[in-house]
């Protein structure tokens, strides 16, 4: 594949190391709430100049949200999730997940 900043089309797939099957760049590009998967650059850098492409595509805020460790997301700890779920269960005890 020519190494430029044009992303590969959906005919080109790579195997996703997280999911265990082939995926397209278009999936990686919007995997995270429409933002790129945090692995996008590392997975696709051998195939094209993905960083150049994404720098042009994303605003600085979107870039940070996608690739910078987000305290908000990462502090969504298991314990916090459990406590939130307990609260929901108390409010609606018959509600299953």
């Amino acid at each position: 594949m020519k190494r430029d900043s044009t992303p590969p089309d959906d005919a080109n797939k790579i195997r996703c190391p997280r999911l265990g099957h082939q995926i397209t760049f278009s999936y990686c590009r919007r995997e995270n709430y429409g933002l790129p998967c945090f692995r996008t650059m590392e997975c696709w850098y051998p195939h094209f100049l993905v960083e150049d492409y994404l720098r042009k595509e994303l605003s600085p805020e979107e870039w940070d949200k996608a690739f910078t460790c987000s305290d908000k997301t990462k502090t969504a700890s298991l314990v916090e999730l459990i406590e939130q779920a307990k609260e929901r269960t108390r409010k609606s005890p018959d509600t299953g997940g």
């Binding site: 195997r15 190391p17 082939q22 709430y33 997975c43 051998p46 314990v79 459990i82 997940g97």
Partner: protein
């Protein structure tokens, strides 16, 4: 005629699992609570795991009885046969004797049910009615689905939507076993609904699916969560494999000089190797090798440090060989080898020089898998090909040295529902991409602020 397969009668199925925690030369350091930094207690995990499994997670008892009800299910596929790879030996012209344990004979085609059936049982006796989990391509989801069916439990699988749409066969396997497999994000959890509200066409992600499964376990009546790798009790259940193998090797009249397994989260590798690690601790001279992709060099290049088990930092902090929870490997073609962190038990055994990690490039693994298919017949899962690649290396080394080594490896599963990876190889769409040291350094910066275990080691980069 030469004996090709060494069968073990059902009466010889091991009655106990082996718990390496009793023999670890260095005691394991506890997982830390991500909020407080204090050791995690049973109550922290109780919302998602039954207490009997939490007890196993922290147990240091050397032998743990396998319940009769689990044995009665194990015999559906266990004991699994041990094969002598005569044709591969001939092809390589090696004096080495090569044995492989065929874990692909289980109904879902991998080692995964060895723990799924135990987890289903312990949940059943603890009163759990429904187990939730997440899955990507579906190997773990299908194993848990079958095991829940065998114990009359409901099984809920949150399958990443893009996988749900692209991997119909594993999904159909889950459905055949009665599991309720839904595309994630779903409307069934707050986590899923929140994502769909923001992006109705979200194709999902593994992180979202985990969040949904955990939330479903926490909020659902009589509902728990199940994980297929990394945790201590998962490693424990997998030892039934290695214990069988020891008996079969004795029948064959051999003892391995080398034990090899592919190492993702560590469960299939732990299954074959831990009973042999016990022998090594007690004086046996064995080379025990865990194989990982060169583009995901967790064991070979990562420091031993505390890290989260997941990228969204929801799991407790665990001491492990890690390249950081945001470590991002280059494209690798082995779905099960996607963990950035190795199981803490395996990490500790590497630190104690009882296990030797080796990394191989993906092209070599597929070449090895094709050699294996053309000599021994079986088409291996892409993950399993990693082990075969090192088996071939070791067999050729024995040839060079003129040594009649005994090589044992775990054939952890077939690749019959993963032929797309082979197709990519045949079409020349695979390539090896070693990860630059600079990328690894960048990833390690993420774990720099986290607490350091007593045995912290620096990165090898």
């Amino acid at each position: 005629m030469q004996v090709k397969k060494i069968f073990l009668p059902e009466s010889e199925l091991p009655r106990q699992w082996y718990n390496i925690m009793a023999d670890m030369p260095t005691p394991m350091e506890p997982p830390l609570h991500p909020g407080t930094g204090q050791p995690v207690g049973p109550d922290d995990l109780a919302p998602i795991f039954p207490m009997n499994l939490i007890e196993q997670e922290v147990s240091t008892q050397r032998w743990i009885d396998i319940p009769q009800e689990v044995l009665e299910k194990y015999v559906i596929w266990r004991p699994t046969p041990l094969y002598r790879a005569y044709e591969l030996e001939k092809h390589l012209k090696t004096p080495a004797k090569i044995y492989f344990k065929n874990e692909g004979v289980s109904p879902p085609g991998s080692h995964k049910p060895n723990t799924a059936i135990a987890q289903a049982y312990y949940n059943k006796v603890a009163g759990t009615k429904r187990i939730c989990t997440e899955t990507g391509a579906g190997q773990w989801g299908s194993a848990l689905a079958m095991c829940c069916a065998l114990f009359g439990l409901e099984c809920k699988v949150f399958m990443v939507k893009i996988s749900f749409n692209q991997k119909p066969y594993r999904k159909l396997m889950m459905q055949t076993w009665g599991a309720n497999c839904v595309a994630s994000p779903s409307t069934e959890t707050e986590a899923g609904r929140k994502i769909l509200a923001q992006d109705p066409d979200s194709p999902g992600s593994l992180g979202i699916a985990i969040s949904e499964a955990v939330e479903a376990a926490v909020t659902g009546k009589d509902t728990k969560y199940s994980l297929g790798s990394v945790l201590n009790h998962v490693m424990l259940h997998q030892t039934v494999n290695g214990l069988e193998t020891q008996k079969q090797m004795a029948i064959a009249g051999d003892y391995p000089d080398v034990v090899i397994g592919c190492a993702g989260g560590g469960s299939n590798f732990a299954g074959i190797c831990l009973p042999f690690v016990c022998d090594k601790i007690h004086g046996k001279d064995i080379d025990i090798i865990g194989v990982e992709p060169s583009s995901c060099p967790t064991m070979t290049q990562g420091p031993f440090a505390y890290d989260f088990g997941d990228t969204v930092q929801m799991t407790p902090l665990l001491p492990m060989h890690t390249l950081g929870h945001n470590f991002i490997p280059a494209p690798i073609h082995a779905g099960g080898l996607r963990y950035h962190g190795m199981a803490p038990i395996i990490s500790q055994l590497i630190l104690d020089n009882l296990i030797r990690p080796i990394a191989v490039h993906q092209m070599e693994t597929f070449q090895a898998g094709i050699t294996f298919a053309n000599t021994e017949g079986f088409i291996s899962a892409p993950e399993t090909n990693h082990a075969i690649a090192v088996v071939i290396r070791e067999a050729l080394k024995a040839k060079e040295e003129g040594k009649e080594k005994v090589i044992l490896f775990n054939w952890s599963g077939h690749g019959l529902v993963d032929m797309a990876a082979y197709q990519a190889y045949f079409e020349g769409r695979l390539a090896d991409y070693p990860l630059p040291a600079e990328d690894i350094k960048r990833a390690l910066a993420d774990i720099a602020p986290l607490p350091k275990p007593k045995q912290y080691t620096a990165s090898k980069i």
